[in-house]
């Protein structure tokens, strides 16, 4: 074969300097990157490498979509919140090729999903018992199976909760916190931590007692946070220090009692909690200070405009003889200055409510949207190139 030797073009030279090429690639949208993985094995290794995610995400990213549970436990309805040309995840039903079981999304954390299964136990709506766990990146469609949580000397213990701790701005690796029953006493708990670097579970600290519900935790500020409803406390476990801390829940002035936590979550490095009641159309969004000194009111929300635009929200509750409002906070997205919004489920529509301008926008019909009354109601979809 004849070989013509010509001077390399600039493009070829650029392509041969990995450091320069990667700096160009990190600026591309996810869609282009998924396509360019096919250019060559080398390009694929650059795009899926550990360095890539760190270079691409230098600040926290807001959710671009929500996975809403459906009637079948492993099926999800995807609601797109971002720009039209942004990535849409590809699964509707959560399945892992080597696993015959049904999985549910247990938690969404900065782009990664923690997916769990009860194995061959047939479960319809409860998110327990947890026997198998995968960490899944829905953007790149990559996953890792974790060793079974809560197993001590080959004996499985009760798993009270598993929670993902991942923040690509801080570290490319992730950890999972498992709270399981202690081998010493029924009422005691024990923390175990899995790290993606070691690929194994490790016991952390001493057995302890608690009233918190460890089923649903929120990762923020280097810690996983749980609500203890009976004690009205926020309990958190710091992953660096491997120590617990606690603080109070916001003190909502409430003449009527019976407010429920409708939203507890994190967006772009802010931890929020919303307590609402269906006979009130206004509520406050509380945000926690980074030093845990207090919950402050970040937004005072009045949904009167939403109730006017969607009159089917209001109904007469004859038991208490007053007007009530049917809605639920699906998510809160801190998408940046003047564009942070709530996603609300109303009887007919899923609606976006801008927290600064109070503008309302329909997102989709709520007809086939299943309402999960447990927290979280939905799971955020955040674009990520994190390796799992």
């Amino acid at each position: 074969m004849a070989v013509t030797i010509t001077a390399a073009t600039s493009a070829e030279v650029v392509g041969s300097i990995d450091e320069l090429l990667i700096q160009i690639l990190v600026q591309l949208p996810v869609k282009s990157l998924m396509r360019f993985k096919l250019v060559s094995k080398h390009w694929k290794s650059l795009i899926t490498g550990r360095q890539f995610s760190r270079l691409r995400y230098t600040s926290p990213s807001p959710a671009v979509g929500l996975f809403c549970p459906a009637q079948k436990i492993s099926v999800f309805k995807y609601i797109h919140l971002g720009a039209i040309n942004q990535t849409k995840p590809m699964f509707r039903e959560l399945r892992f090729p080597d696993d015959p079981f049904s999985f549910w999304i247990h938690q969404s954390c900065n782009g990664l999903l923690l997916c769990c299964s009860s194995g061959n136990l047939v479960r319809t709506r409860t998110r327990s018992p947890i026997r198998r766990c995968y960490v899944y990146n829905p953007t790149t469609d990559c996953y890792t199976k974790l060793p079974r949580p809560g197993v001590l000397n080959e004996v499985p213990r009760i798993v009270h909760g598993v929670n993902l701790a991942f923040d690509h701005v801080m570290s490319p690796s992730h950890k999972v916190v498992c709270v399981r029953g202690s081998e010493f006493a029924r009422e005691l708990y024990q923390v175990e931590v899995y790290s993606s670097e070691s690929g194994a579970w490790r016991v952390s600290g001493e057995p302890f007692s608690s009233n918190a519900n460890f089923e649903y935790g929120v990762y923020w500020n280097g810690s996983v946070h749980w609500i203890s409803y009976t004690r009205k406390e926020l309990l958190y476990f710091n992953l660096d220090k491997e120590r617990f801390g606690k603080t109070s829940l916001p003190d909502v002035r409430d003449g009527h009692g019976g407010r429920i936590v409708d939203y507890f979550g994190e967006s772009c490095d802010h931890l929020h909690i919303i307590k609402s009641h269906d006979y009130e159309v206004a509520f406050d969004v509380y945000e926690m200070k980074r030093d845990y000194s207090e919950w402050f009111v970040k937004y005072r929300v009045d949904l009167t405009v939403v109730a006017a635009a969607f009159p089917e929200m209001a109904y007469m509750n004859t038991l208490i003889n007053r007007t009530c409002y049917a809605f639920s906070v699906f998510s809160l997205v801190r998408a940046g200055e003047k564009c942070s919004f709530l996603v609300l489920l109303t009887p007919r529509k899923v609606v976006r409510f801008n927290l600064d301008s109070h503008a309302i926008e329909e997102i989709c019909d709520s007809g086939d949207t299943w309402f999960e009354c447990l927290l979280p109601h939905t799971f955020e979809y955040i674009e990520s190139f994190a390796c799992v």
Binding site: S10, L28, L38, K88
Partner: protein, 177 residues
């Protein structure tokens, strides 16, 4: 306030900065063209600044990896960014216009020069522009442009295309630009 050499009023100006503004350097491209540039503009390139500091310049700085056409462009950029009265807004507008007219081949020439000469602002601007021009391109266009041969088997390619079918929507046709 008036400690830096960017002070347009000209009071209390650092004498060293003043000297840099009047002193000129000669940059010599790979094809032998020579360009005069004020030292204050030239040292926006960290690589040139290091050469000047090491005093290996000796009047003429040879840049064997940058051709004349590209060097002329880079100098236009450096002069604008060293200009005394230019506001940040003006510079931003200049940057935008500077890269918007460039053909793809020129963008690659300039990104290499900016990388070699370590001109951070220019590098950032050109990288962003290249990414913007590449984003809707096909895999074939990328392979052709970067002279890359696929090392995937047809089966592997088919499998990946199937997995990420959505990534193939809205791709531009392969017209050269």
């Amino acid at each position: 306030m008036a400690r830096k050499n960017r002070n347009p009023v000209g009071k209390n100006v650092d004498p060293e900065a003043q000297k840099k503004k009047t002193r000129t350097l000669t940059l010599k491209s790979s094809d032998g063209q020579e360009f005069s540039i004020s030292e204050s503009a030239a040292v926006l390139s960290i690589a040139i600044e290091n050469m000047v500091e090491d005093d290996c310049a000796g009047g003429v700085i040879p840049l064997p990896l940058v051709d004349g056409g590209t060097l002329a462009r880079v100098i236009t950029y450096l002069n604008k960014h060293a200009e005394d009265g230019a506001s940040d807004e003006e510079k931003r507008k200049f940057d935008e216009e500077f890269v918007s007219g460039m053909e793809m081949g020129v963008l690659f020439d300039v990104v290499l020069a900016a990388n070699y000469l370590d001109i951070r602002g220019l590098l950032r601007e050109v990288r962003r522009r290249i990414a913007d021009r590449m984003k809707n391109k096909s895999v074939e266009w990328v392979r052709k442009t970067f002279h890359i041969e696929s090392d995937f088997t047809p089966e592997e390619e088919e499998q990946m295309k199937k997995e990420f079918a959505w990534a193939w929507e809205g791709v531009d046709s392969d017209v050269d630009d």
